[in-house]
Symmetry: C2
Subunit: 197 residues, 2 copies
DNA sequence: GTACTAACTGATTGATCAGTCAGTTTCGGA
DNA sequence: TCCGAAACTGACTGATCAATCAGTTAGTAC
């Protein structure tokens, strides 16, 4: 028996299932069997399916924040512009290595629940605020060092987030061949924000 | 009794329900009762729930294509750049007046079904191709008249679609106050593509 | 009116699923 | 070794829902 409680195993399984199949299409029985656990065990750890979902979301939240804080601890950039492009690239990178996280965040159920459940809303807001502030900070730094032109850092950060998110979604839905858009996105962002005199 | 068949009424109701609540969370009983119809009537017109969904999607497809073709029939632009910005603005406008269409197109079920059902995939591809080509054409025109800089029209069109889509999604999820981002998006796109010498 | 078909319906079925419950197993501490 | 609590389980329940079916009604042609 490993030290790791079954509770964490349940969360891990549920993360993948909720992310790929959605909330309603994931049955507790399925989560249980993929975790090698009896169905009722989940209800010992989580009162309801919704409570399990919130735990999954919270787990994604902390994971995401930690990943970004680690990235900026290790990387350093010559300019705000480079910092911005680095952040975007890392965002895209995470969206590949931790696909479930981003799928879960973009699931409709997540936002529907957030409109009704304050805890869920709180987690979601923290995540989005974190993501926006990363871009915002880079833009502000870039304006100070002259690498980025005159624009509203807050609003531009939101537009960039929308862009990155939109690209991730386009690639996930693979109506078009993926991968090639990453470099195009970076180039477009550079053209969009850089200081040109 | 109106001439308009109940079949169309069913599609209209289903469009809104599928768009706002999703496929699995919409019950046929609900569609029926909101259409003032017996539950079994739907199954007379549509063999399965999935077939109803496909009809809804097809309806959205034709509506969307018609709306854009009408727009470009009536509007004319001084430059490719202005045409692009007009297209983006109209896209955003449609996303407000015909919210169900865009919600439906972005539903996860739509893309999951497209991966499995060729008819669904066909409809989706037509819609996306249409949307991309609108931007692509404007970019190409702009490069000829000199209003738009040297860039790949195809790839840039995809990036712009992702951007617009991302903004629409951000506003729908209203974690941030909406509306204000539209003008920011247009300004950002202009900075991104315009020819600067 | 009659005959035929298309449109429509109420009652039902079988499957699925979240959640409950009464119980068993596991395990750390005294 | 024994106790008590925490962890876990199998069997069950009530509700929901897509789909079916045997039928009734509306419309149309002659």
């Amino acid at each position: 028996m490993p030290k790791k409680s079954k509770k964490n195993a349940i969360i891990d399984t549920a993360t993948i299932l909720f992310a790929t199949k959605g909330f309603t299409n994931t049955s507790m029985t399925e989560v249980a069997s993929l975790t090698d656990i009896a169905g009722a065990t989940i209800f010992y750890h989580f009162k309801t399916k919704e409570e399990l979902f919130i735990s999954v979301l919270e787990n994604v939240k902390t994971g995401l924040i930690q990943a970004f804080s680690l990235y900026f601890q290790e990387e350093h950039f010559p300019s705000g512009l480079e910092r911005l492009l680095g952040a975007i690239a890392y965002h895209l990178h995470l969206a590949e290595t931790k696909k479930e996280w981003f799928l879960l965040l973009r699931r409709h159920y997540t936002h529907e629940l957030a409109a009704v459940n304050p805890v869920c809303r709180q987690h979601l807001e923290v995540v989005y605020t974190c993501l926006v502030e990363i871009f915002e900070k880079a833009l502000t730094i870039g304006q100070q060092d002259g690498s980025i032109g005159p624009l509203s850092p807050k609003k531009t950060a939101l537009v960039i987030l929308a862009m990155v998110d939109g690209i991730i979604q386009l690639e996930n839905n693979n109506l078009y061949n993926a991968g090639t858009l990453y470099s195009e996105l970076l180039a477009s962002c550079r053209r969009m924000v850089e200081n040109k005199q």
